[in-house]
Symmetry: none
Subunit: 224 residues, 4 copies
C-alpha cells in the first residue's frame, strides 16, 4: 500500500480560501453521513461543497486527507465537550460522582453528532485518519489512570495503567454497540447506570458488593 498523505497541502491564508476549506470539510462530513465512506469521492465532495475539484486538491491531497480533517474536527469537539464537563464538575467529589461524570461526558460527546460518530468509528478503515481518535482514547485512558491513582487508597486494582485500558476499551465498545443496537438503553439512562456498575465493580468490588445488595446499580436487593 502506497504511503498516503493526510496532511493539508497548504494553509489557507486568505479569507476566501478559509471559507472554501470549511465548505469542503463540512461537505465531507455530510457525504460521509449520507453515503458512507466507500461512496465518498473527491469529485462528489467537491460537488457537494459547491466547489471545483481543483480547489479541493489545492488543499487536500486526496480522500484520506478529507476524512482526516473531519476526524480531527470531530475529535476536537469531543475533546472540548469532555474538558468542558470536567471543568464544571465539583472539585471534591466521590469516586462514584467522578466516574458518573466521565461516563456522561463520553456519552454526551458521542451524542452530539451521533451519525457522524458512527460512520467514523464503523466505516473509516484503520488508516492514519484514525490516529486522531486513538489519541483521544489515549487521553481518556490517562484521565482514568489519574483518577485511579488519585483514589489509590480506596481502589482495589494493582496496575492502574492496564486497568485504565480495560475500562476505556470496554466502555467504548459498550457505548458504540449500544448506540447502534440499543438506543433505548441510552435514552432511558439504564446504560449509564450499568456502565457505572461495571466500572465500579471492577475497580472497587467491595463497594459495589454492598451497594448492589441494597438494590443500587441494577443489583438484586438482598432478601434480608
Amino acid at each position: 500500500m502506497a504511503r498516503i498523505r493526510t496532511v493539508p497541502r497548504k494553509a489557507p491564508t486568505q479569507q476566501r480560501s478559509r471559507a472554501t476549506v470549511d465548505a469542503i470539510v463540512d461537505a465531507t462530513a455530510r457525504v460521509l453521513v449520507r453515503d458512507g465512506y466507500d461512496a465518498l469521492s473527491t469529485n462528489r465532495v467537491a460537488r457537494e461543497a459547491g466547489v471545483s475539484v481543483g480547489s479541493l486538491y489545492q488543499y487536500f491531497p486526496g480522500k484520506e486527507a478529507l476524512v482526516a480533517a473531519v476526524m480531527e474536527m470531530h475529535a476536537s469537539r469531543m475533546q472540548e465537550s469532555i474538558a468542558e464537563r470536567m471543568r464544571n464538575s465539583a472539585p471534591a467529589a466521590t469516586p462514584e460522582e467522578v466516574a458518573t461524570e466521565m461516563i456522561r461526558a463520553m456519552l454526551a460527546a458521542q451524542a452530539a453528532e451521533p451519525r457522524l460518530h458512527r460512520v467514523l468509528v464503523e466505516q473509516v478503515p484503520r488508516i492514519g485518519a484514525l490516529r486522531r481518535l486513538h489519541e483521544l482514547f489515549g487521553n481518556y485512558e490517562r484521565l482514568v489512570e489519574a483518577w485511579l491513582e488519585s483514589n489509590s487508597e480506596r481502589i482495589e486494582v494493582q496496575d492502574a495503567r492496564m486497568a485504565s485500558f480495560v475500562l476505556v476499551a470496554a466502555v467504548e465498545g459498550l457505548v458504540n454497540r449500544a448506540a447502534l443496537d440499543r438506543p433505548d438503553l441510552v435514552a432511558s439512562g439504564k446504560l449509564e447506570e450499568q456502565i457505572l456498575r461495571l466500572i465500579l465493580a471492577y475497580v472497587v468490588p467491595s463497594y459495589v458488593a454492598s451497594a448492589s445488595a441494597e438494590g443500587r446499580y441494577g443489583g438484586r436487593p438482598s432478601k434480608a
Copy 2:
C-alpha cells in the same frame, strides 16, 4: 448506494461446483489477508482461484457476496469452536469456571485465524457483511443470558437480558481493541484475567470483593 445482493445466486449442487465455490471463497480469504479489502476485486479473486470471472459470477453476484461468504465461513468456524469448548467443559462448574471457559473460547476463536479475523473486523464493517458477526454475538448474548439464569440464586443482577448485552458488548470491544492495540496483553494471559475480573465483579461483586482482597484477578492483596 444501490441495493446490493449478498446472497449466492444459486446453490452449487454438483461436486465440481462445490469445489469451484470453495476455491473462490478460499481465494477471497487469501486476497483479503494479503492485500486488504480495498484491493480485493472480482477479477483478482477469480485469477487467484484459478477460475474465470464468468464462473465466479455464476455463484456470487459481486464483491460483497464474496466477503460475506468468507465472513460466514469464519463466523461458522468461530461458532463451532466455541460450541465445541462448551460441550467439553465439565457439566457442574462454578460460575468462575464457566466464565473462564467462555472467555477462553472467545479468545481462541479469534486466535484461530488472527490475520483474517483482523481484516474482517478492521476493514469490513463498512459493508453489511458484518451482520453475520453480530448474529454470532447475539448467540453469545443468549448463551450468557442462559448462564446467568441458571445461576440466578448466586447472581447479583436483576435483568439478565440487559446484563448479557452489557457483558458481551464490553468484552467484544475489549477483545477487539486489545487485538489491535495490545496484543501483548492477549499473549500474556493478562487480558483473560482482567476480563474475568470485569465480568465476575459485574455479576457477583461480593464474590470478587473477597477474592480481590486475596490478590486474585489483579486485585490488591489486603494489608492484613
Copy 3:
C-alpha cells in the same frame, strides 16, 4: 520520471482480440499522424479505434506502449523494405552501386509512410519507444560497416566502425531534413546524387576526385 512500461500486458490469443489489438495500433498511428504525439491520449485512441478504454488497457499499459507498438510496426516494415531491396540487388556490384542501393533503400523506407515517419522521428520523445528505431539505425551501421570491410582494399578509412556511425548519422539527418524542408530535392533525385557524393567522397576521396572532375556527382567539370 517514473519507470514506464512499454510492454504489452498480455498476448492476445483469440482471434477477436487479435483484431482489437490491430485496430488499436492502427488507430494510434492515425491519431499520431493527424493530431501529433502530445494530443494523443488513451481515451482518444480508444474512441478512434472504436474500442472501449478498458479493452485498450487490457493490452497496453499506457500511452507509451501504444506508441512503442506503432514504432515497432513501422521499424519492422522499414527493415523488411530494406532487406528486400538488398536481397534483390545484383550479387557482384561496385561500391558505388551498393551505396546507391542502400541510399535508395533508406529513402524508399521513409517514403512508404512519410507522415508517420516524420511524426515518429520529430515528435516522439526520447523514451523507450525510440529504442526500436535506434536498433534499426544500429542495423544500418552494421550493414555499412560490413560493406566498408568487404571493400577494405579500396576503402580509404581506418576505423570502419566510426566511419559507419558518421555515415549513417549524416545521411539520417540529411534525409530527415530534406523530407521536411526540401521535398523537391528528394523528388528530383538530386538528393540521392548528393548523398552518394558525400558518402563516396568520405570513403574513397580519390575515386570521387577523378569522377568529380568529369562532372559526375554534381562535380564541376574540369576546364581541360
Copy 4:
C-alpha cells in the same frame, strides 16, 4: 490541435517588467533542464521564478511561448557565439582552416549549455518552437554558401546553394546524434576530425584524396 500563440503578449517596457520576464525565462530554462518538457507547467515555472501565475500570463500566453522564449534565447546565444568566432578568425585562410573554424563554432555553441541544448533538441521538436532553430541553421547555410562562393576557384561543386544545404543538414544530424549517443566522440575530438573530412571530401575531393593518403582525417596511410 488548436492554434497556439507563441508570441509574447506585450513587450515589457519598464525595467521591473524586464526583470520579471527574465526571471520567467530563466526559470523556464531551469525547469526544462531539471524536469524536462513534459513536467513543465505554467504554475511550476511561476513558482520557480518567484512570480505569480497571473504575472506570467501577462507576458506569455502559455507554455509554448515560454519554451519558445528559451529557444530564442538559446539560439541567439549560439548565433552570437558563432559570429564571434568567425570575426576573430584570420581573414585570409585556407578552406580547411575556415571549415575547421566553423565546425568548432558549431560544436562550441552546443557545448555552452549542453543540457539545455539536449532538452531543446530532444524534447521540443514536438512543438513549433523548433522553427527558431531552423532559422539558425538557415543562417548557417547562407554562411556556408558564402564561403563556398568565395572559394569558388578551388571548390569542386557546382550548385553552392544545394551544397550548403547538404553540408549543414548532414553536420547538424551528425552533431545531434553524436551528442545523444556518442559523447565520447565529441570529447575526444574525433568527431571534429571526421566532420572535417566529410565536409572537405565533399567539397574538394582531390584535396582530401591526397591528404588522406598521408593519413590525415582518419585516412589510411598509403603503403608506398
